[in-house]
Every structure is written in structure tokens, then in C-alpha cells.
């Protein structure tokens, strides 16, 4: 871990960071771009003097980069504090503007699932890959005229599985859903997919910077022209009345710079990380008996996630041992207490609790290296073997 400007924070020794799906390391170029806006420029971009106009220009430059990344017009980009706020704004905003109901699948991120449930919306099932069940969606749309928003995540945060949004849009169109808005949480998609092509069918798109080398606390909701959306945060009318509050200029500049870099480098990163992912996955299958890929083999996935279940293993124990060997990884989502919670995604996919209890998510990103893969292949197989041996010899209820 690097430190900036002489500020050094004691960081644990991480030899292989395999939790990019949770957050990626910030890119040095992004930090460079942000620093002047943290240190030198005091102004509020809503002001009218020269310093304010400079801040406004920095925000709008970032807006251009995010628009280019998402395949949107700059005026369609609404800056938020991150993915969760973007998701909440999409669900609440459309429901508030239309008076209708939201719908989503049971494998959505809680930032979508919880608002949908709170608003009395419809939660439909998903397939064994964790994608929204289109037949169930058709039934829901046919039986409930009030549905005005369907939210379908572009890439699942736990499994890396890609949803075909064109197919979701076609399903909505087939039931005559002209007044139904399609939202996609593309937080996990941005680093891997060409967004203009993959999320082009969506009316609303959520993004967050820290999944692709940007800072935490900076995100965006793309709101295509004409989509009905009422604001959730009201106040000074920033972001074209769609998200009030003084813009977080340094964070937005960081998001813009990360977007610019991503557009230039994504294809090369995808190719490189795909090779790493394949080597990691093949290595684990070869070295550890009883390893199961969590999603069906033919499922379209991003290169960012290796999601496996190890028979006879408890995730918390494996993660503890991996941490001791300098591997940062995760199992399912973490709850407020920091405990590993049983995954609602795997449960929605029909995976039983015992199998899910042995799951592990190793997530790669732009910063992943061959050395990371080598290290995991060195330390993970003996860790699994140790835990299984212990279970055999000491016995476990």
C-alpha cells in the first residue's frame, strides 16, 4: 500500500489483494487529479465568481468523462455519493415521480432490494446464474399494472454473472410496458463491460468510482432524457434539480479521471485479467478436491470474480487462515457488525445453506498481478486441506 504526501497509515500486510469487487486500490493518477481540489481550491461550484466557475468546470469535465464511459449525454449524468445513493435515487425517484411500484430480482444488491421492499414492490426470482427470471418478470408485469420500474443488475456483485439487459428490455416491451422504466445497477459492470453497448437498453444506470480505481464516496446515476425521476435529496437544486447538495468536487474529479483512464485501458485490462482469472480458477480446481464453481459453467461472467464453494469448509475459517497468509478476500456480503452473513444471492440462486457456507469470492481487478495468483495458489490449497484434516481428526458437530 502506498502513502501520499508523507502521511503514512499503518496498513496490514496484504500480499495478495483479491477483494476488488469490494473496492479497488485508488489509482495514483486519480489521486494526482484530486489533490488540487482538496488542497488548493476552496470554492463551491454553485457560486458565480472565478474560483467557483473553475470548480464548476472541473465537475463538468468529470461529467463529460462519466458520460463517455456510460454512453450517455453529459446532461444525463447525476453525481451521487456512490452506488447505494444512485440505486436508492433510481428506485425512490421513479416511484415518487410516477406513483407506481418497483420490481427487481431477489439477487439484487441490498441498495436496490431494500428500497424495493420498503416501497411495497415486487421481488421476483432468479435463475441458477443469479439473473432475473424473465418468465417470472413477465408474470409480474402482466399481473400488476402499477409496476413502473424494473431494476436488473448488470453484473452481480457476488458472482460476477452478467445479465443481458437487452433481453430484460425486450421482456418489458413484450408485455407492452411503455411506461416501465428499466434501471440497472452497473456498479460491478463498469470495470469490465463496454457500457454504451451493454447498458444501452437501460433508462437509469448506477455507477461508483471505487470499483475502478476511483475514490470512495463518488458515484453517478445516469438518467436518460425524459425518464420520470423525482429527487430524493432536496435543497439547492444542484444536478439539474435531481440531487441537491454541494458537489463533492475532489471526489467527482476522481470519478472523472478514473472514468477517463478506464475508457482508455479497459480492453487491455479485461484481456490480462481474464488470463489471471483462468489460471487462478484452473489452479484451484486442480489443487483442491471438492471445489465447485458456484454458477453453472456456461454462464457469462466478468473476469473479475472467481466464486467457488469448497466442500466441508466454513468460509469464516478459510478467510481467517487466508488473512494470516496475507490474502484479502471475502465470502458473501458483510453485515454492519462485520460478520459474514449467509448470502441472499446464493440463496436466491437455489444453493443450499451448507454449500453456501463454504463459499469464497476471490475478486480481481486492474491492480491484480501474476504474483497474486501464484500466492493464492500456494497458500489456499494447504489452508483448505488443514481445515478438512482438522474436521476429520477433531470432529465437528
Amino acid at each position: 500500500m502506498s502513502s501520499f504526501s508523507g502521511i503514512s497509515v499503518a496498513a496490514p500486510i496484504v500480499r495478495a489483494y483479491l477483494d476488488h469487487a469490494a473496492s479497488t486500490p485508488i489509482r495514483p493518477e486519480v489521486v494526482e487529479a484530486m489533490l488540487p481540489w482538496l488542497v488548493d481550491h476552496p470554492a463551491n461550484p454553485s457560486g458565480s465568481h472565478a474560483a467557483a466557475r473553475a470548480a464548476r468546470r472541473a465537475v463538468d469535465d468529470a461529467r463529460d468523462h462519466v458520460a463517455a464511459l456510460a454512453g450517455a449525454k453529459p446532461g444525463e449524468v447525476v453525481f451521487t455519493s456512490g452506488g447505494t445513493e444512485a440505486d436508492n435515487l433510481a428506485v425512490d425517484g421513479v416511484v415518487r415521480a410516477t406513483g407506481g411500484l418497483p420490481a427487481c430480482s431477489a439477487a439484487e444488491h441490498p441498495a436496490v432490494l431494500e428500497p424495493v421492499r420498503d416501497l411495497g414492490g415486487v421481488v421476483v426470482g432468479c435463475d441458477s446464474g443469479g439473473r432475473i427470471d424473465l418468465d417470472a418478470l413477465t408474470v409480474a408485469l402482466n399481473s400488476l399494472d402499477e409496476i413502473r420500474l424494473v431494476s436488473a443488475m448488470s453484473v452481480n456483485n457476488e458472482t460476477g454473472v452478467v445479465t443481458d439487459l437487452d433481453a430484460v428490455a425486450a421482456t418489458i416491451a413484450a408485455v407492452g410496458g411503455d411506461s416501465v422504466v428499466l434501471h440497472t445497477d452497473a456498479v460491478q459492470a463498469a470495470a469490465w463491460l463496454d457500457l454504451p453497448a451493454s447498458v444501452g437498453a437501460a433508462d437509469l444506470v448506477s455507477l461508483t468510482a471505487h470499483k475502478f480505481g476511483g475514490p470512495k464516496g463518488a458515484g453517478a446515476l445516469v438518467v436518460r432524457t425524459g425518464v420520470p425521476l423525482a429527487p430524493v435529496l432536496r435543497g439547492g437544486g444542484q444536478e439539474h434539480e435531481r440531487r441537491s447538495g454541494t458537489q463533492n468536487v475532489p471526489a467527482i474529479v476522481g470519478l472523472g479521471e478514473a472514468s477517463r483512464l478506464l475508457i482508455a485501458e479497459r480492453q487491455a485490462t479485461v484481456e490480462r485479467v481474464t488470463e489471471l482469472r483462468d489460471r487462478l480458477e484452473e489452479g484451484l480446481f486442480r489443487l483442491v478436491d471438492g471445489t465447485h464453481r458456484t454458477v453453472p459453467d456456461d454462464t457469462l461472467r466478468t473476469p473479475g470474480v472467481v466464486h467457488l464453494c469448497f466442500a466441508g469448509i466454513q468460509s469464516e475459517e478459510l478467510l481467517f487462515m487466508l488473512e494470516r497468509e496475507g490474502v484479502a478476500a471475502s465470502a458473501a456480503a458483510s453485515c454492519a457488525s462485520g460478520a459474514q452473513e449467509p448470502s441472499h444471492v446464493l440463496s436466491a440462486m437455489g444453493i443450499d445453506r451448507v454449500t453456501a457456507g463454504g463459499s469464497l469470492r476471490l475478486s480481481l481487478g486492474y491492480a491484480s498481478t501474476d504474483a497474486d495468483v501464484d500466492h493464492v495458489l500456494t497458500v489456499l490449497p494447504p489452508a483448505v486441506e488443514h481445515l478438512r484434516d482438522h474436521a476429520r481428526t477433531v470432529g465437528c458437530k
Binding site: 475459517e317 462485520g338 445453506r353 488443514h386 482438522h390
Partner: protein
Amino acid sequence: MVAMSGGVDSSVAAALLCDAGHEVVGVTLRLWGGESDSGCCAVSDVDDARRVADALGIEHHVFNLGDDFNRDVVDPYVADHALGRTPNPCIECNRHIKFTRLRYRASALGFATIATGHHARIVERIDGTRRIARAVDASKDQSYVLHMLDQEQLAGLLLPIGHLTKEDVRERAAAMGLRTADKPDSQDVCFITRERGRDDFLRRRIPLTPGRVVDGTGAELGSVEAVEMVTVGQRKGIATAGGGAPRYAVDVDVASATVTVGSAADLLVDETPVLATTWAAGPVPVGTAIAVQTSAHGATEAAIFDGDAVRWIRPHRRVAPGQAVVFYEGDELIGGATAA
């Protein structure tokens, strides 16, 4: 590996082990996923444990043993109540979760020893065997809830604060600047909320049976809303006609939905049947005189161990079925059982 609940006792336990030069890792167990406003599972308690670990410079982990807790503590708690018994879930949590499941996990992760912040001591006898002994602070003694530990468990356990009074513990925490120094003790069952209570918890899980209240002759005196909620020995809330001398529940029979009440004298028995007996270092012979304690902070009474019962030297209040019956030899625990 120190079990840190986020309270002052386990905070100081961890600190003392650090001082003693042990390699210490703190863990907080997440056991109950439902509503809670008390006990040891609230997120704010996890935060306290984490921040104390940060202050001590030790690693802190949260282990989610919620499935084990439901299976081994909550489900049996509900099932016992359905049978009219009065279980002690904190003891079952110690038995199944802290000293079995956590111990197992600790050993899987390479930790031969676990430690907790219980107020009790571990003493080694001349023959090399170990016993739980009462805490130095008699008013805080928690040896009763540790009665199920055997030699193997005792050999892998440290109780660093058993030789301190509660006041000492708080003073040490304050001296070290630990944020939990003034935190009130938790005393409630972690999965029962103070606001809704036990009635509500059980009502959502099992059908509660309205019952008759009768006296020893079978004469009907009144009614109760739920026989499952009545504890043997209970006086409060037994609506009886007539008045007169105080009446106590002396028997609860869910099958016939009947609570039998009687006088304080009717509550006294010559023996208490027990089951699921455990021993610290092997059983004593039937007929051995032992000191027996039947509530967490009660006194011991002299009794004779009779295999599937304890025979009291002097008549003893009935022990509600499901409660722990704990055997001492002086200050030292030798075993325990559950009242049948």
C-alpha cells in the same frame, strides 16, 4: 483467542492477556440475527469490542455462529418452554457455542487456548486435574454457568479476570483508557427484547395454552393465559380466587393445561430429579455428600448425589425443570446437571 462481547470484563481479560505476553486475537460472536436490545449481540457491542481490540493493538474478528446458535440454543429454548420447562439459554450457549463451537473453531485456526471474561477461576489440583473455582468477587461469581466444562475444555481455557473484583476490573479498564470501563453489565437474554419480553418471543413461535390453576386437591382456583410461561416456584401472576396465604406454582403440566399451586411449604421437596449430568473430572459415587446450587447467585445446600436425583439434607424449594443444578466441593465446581 479471546471471546470479546464488547463488555468491560472481556475487554480487561484481553488486556491482561496482552500484558502477559500472549499472542492475542479478539473475536466477537454474532449469534442472534433477530431483534435485540440487550444481551451481547447488538452491533454497538461489536463496535465496542472492535474499538477495544484496536486500542490494545490486537486483531479482531467477528464470527457468525448464528445457525449454530439457533439450532443449539434458541430452538431448544422454545421447545423446552413448549413442554412447560424453564431453560437457561445462557448456560446452553456456553455449553454448545462458546466452549464447543468456538473452541473447535479456535483449534482449527491454530489457537490451543480460548479465554473469556467470566468471573470465575481455574485451579489445578495436586493430581494435575483442573476445576472451575468461584470468583474472588463473590457477588459477581459466574462459576454456576460454567458447570459443564470437562478436563479437556478446562485445559484449553483461561479466565483472566476471575481473581479480580468487579471494581478492580473497572478500575483497570479506566486506567488503560478502555472505552468499556463504565459500560453497564448485560444481564438479559440476548434474543429476548426488553420491550417485547419473553411472552411475545414465544407467542410468535409456539401456540400458548390457556390453563387452569388448581390446588393440591384438584379444586379449580383460577386461570393463566399460558401454562408454558409459568415457572415452578413462581408466585407473581398466578391469578387465584380467595386470597389468603401466598400461593406458588408447584407443578406445570402442559398436556393437561394445568398449573398446580400450593403454599410455601408445598414447594419444598426432599429430592430433585436431574438429567444430563456432566463432571469436571469424572463422577462421584452415588451416595456422596455434595454442595448443590440451583440458581445463579444462590447459596449451596447440602445434598446426597443419588445418580438420577439429588437428595436434600433439609427440604429444598422445587427447582423448575430445565434449570441448572450445580455441584460444588468447597469453592470448586465438580459437575452439574439439569433439573428434570
